[in-house]
Symmetry: C2
Subunit: 291 residues, 2 copies
DNA sequence: GCGTGGCATTAAGCCCCTCAA
DNA sequence: TTGAGGGGCTTAATGCCACGC
């Protein structure tokens, strides 16, 4: 992801968007909602800090007092009802990650049975289909478009129950198409066309996995989140976490050697202190020339 | 900033919002725009990757093809015109950071002169004001409300010229009040009330500094951004950057010792390789028990 | 399949004003 | 000075349908 030249925050924002939408499969609207929710939450806390002064809070962020009030109430109500705010929730949406499990539960298949059930097909037709199937399938039946959409709808509606009623987004054809496309795009399901019937769908994996390419973003995401979480802990309580920052100058030609030695230092440190019965400790580091 | 329990992305999003708005002083709307811009940019790149297929791109992110088209055109036009996208740009908005310089330029003051000019005041009144001034002021005159608002408006309009015409937001009273409140809130300017005239304003610092409290967020922000930037470089080209991740187990009681030793290792490594005439190298690290 | 067009609803980011406590 | 009410404009996130290719 080469993104246009921007400030450092924007870079992180671009990264979040790429990870959430491109890889994670979150909706555009969901990402916008997550950003808005974060901002609203900041407004909420500021309001409390500013002696619950609507106008002052509004001034600080350039919002109308009326709107501030609505935001405060929205946040408070959601928190009171024990529902979740409109955040992304996880790196991938539930209605995608849970999908294979639902399919496996609703349309299980046992070796020896026909993969297609409920519709009578000629043996030759069955064979035609079997032949088009990829190998190593999970134990699930093939289903048709209507059944697929029903699965998608069921799961989607279930995923919405975590939200407050007003926040829930109705299921729609457009939403169904979106989810179907996501599942196809990630290769979680596959469409099987036949000359003698409407197309079938196969479940090709037991679990949803985000788009494989872009490993860069994928790896970076884990590191960044880990780093952030440890840093938050460090900020909370400096006892159990070590934060290290060194800014130094090294002659160009020595940089590779220095980095290699650093690598070895870290490894041997880890070897030295590792004991199988210990508590899990994580070290997350990066070092180099910053352009 | 304790934020409600959420996924790891949401945590980073909350953090970004806090840093940008609470500390940096960015507008609520500006933050939303920055998030939207990031998402739109992702849509733009996806569109190019998907063979410029509006419908497919729309499906992937649950957007109408029409809207996708508008987004593509918006991004492309902005990039073509050499203008900036609606991002945050910097950690603090220009119309805040540049403010002291504008004031100093427009209303300079020389030792020996009266701090208030253009209005004739009695010596006793001048003395009353001088007495209310904080010490160690920059060399700038006091100004009144109208002059203050004019400075704010000038600077704001100047900051908008970086954007495409359609993106520019007009100056308004509400915007003026917002900026004034921000400047007061951070202590960059101060209001001086008098019984004999309209209030005056003092410039109390030569440069804008974000809200001082919340050092935690402030420190964290630098570290996070540095880490992220180095990681991006690492992902690009692993030659000049070392990325380290160690996951190990250490008995509880040994953790403090281990961390301390790690700290010393890093320092001595830095000492060993530092040479004043070298290239700047940064090491950013965190280690500890991850809950 | 796709692009394009139309039509509809609703929220919400913006602006301003007034009045009572 | 603040809260609460009024007025307003415009964008855009959602949805649907239909035509022609």
């Amino acid at each position: 992801m080469q993104c246009p030249n921007q400030g450092s925050f924007d870079q992180i924002m671009f990264f979040l968007a790429a990870r959430a939408m491109k890889i994670g499969g979150h909706r555009y609207g969901a990402f916008l909602d997550a950003a808005a929710t974060a901002a609203k939450y900041i407004i909420y806390t500021t309001y409390l800090e500013e002696n619950q002064n609507l106008r002052a809070t509004g001034h600080l962020y350039h919002i109308e007092p009326k709107r501030v009030k609505a935001i405060i109430e929205e946040i408070q109500q959601t928190l009171n009802n024990g529902k979740s705010l409109k955040t992304l929730g996880a790196e991938e949406p539930d209605y995608l990650t849970q999908f294979p499990y639902l399919w496996l539960g609703q349309y299980p298949w046992k070796p020896g049975q026909a993969r297609v059930q409920g519709i009578h097909l000629l043996p030759s037709e069955l064979q035609y289909i079997e032949q088009k199937l990829p190998g190593a399938l999970p134990d699930a039946q093939l289903i048709d478009e209507a059944q697929l959409m029903e699965l998608i709808e069921t799961l989607y509606l279930r995923s919405q129950t975590k939200l407050v009623n007003e926040d829930q987004l109705c299921f729609s054809e457009a939403m169904g198409e979106h989810i179907k496309r996501r599942l196809l795009h990630t290769g979680t399901i596959k469409k099987i066309e036949t000359p003698f019937s409407l197309p079938f769908y196969v479940l090709t994996r037991c679990s949803y996995t985000p788009v494989e390419k872009e490993e860069r973003l994928y790896a970076l995401s884990g590191d960044l989140v880990r780093f952030f979480q440890l840093m938050e802990q460090w900020a909370d309580n400096q006892q159990t976490v070590l934060r290290g920052l060194e800014e130094l100058d090294i002659p160009s030609e020595k940089i590779p050697v220095a980095l290699q030695e650093l690598d070895e230092l870290i490894r041997s440190w880890a070897d030295k202190y590792h004991q199988d019965d210990g508590e899990p400790v994580v070290l997350q580091m990066v070092a180099g020339k910053l352009f």
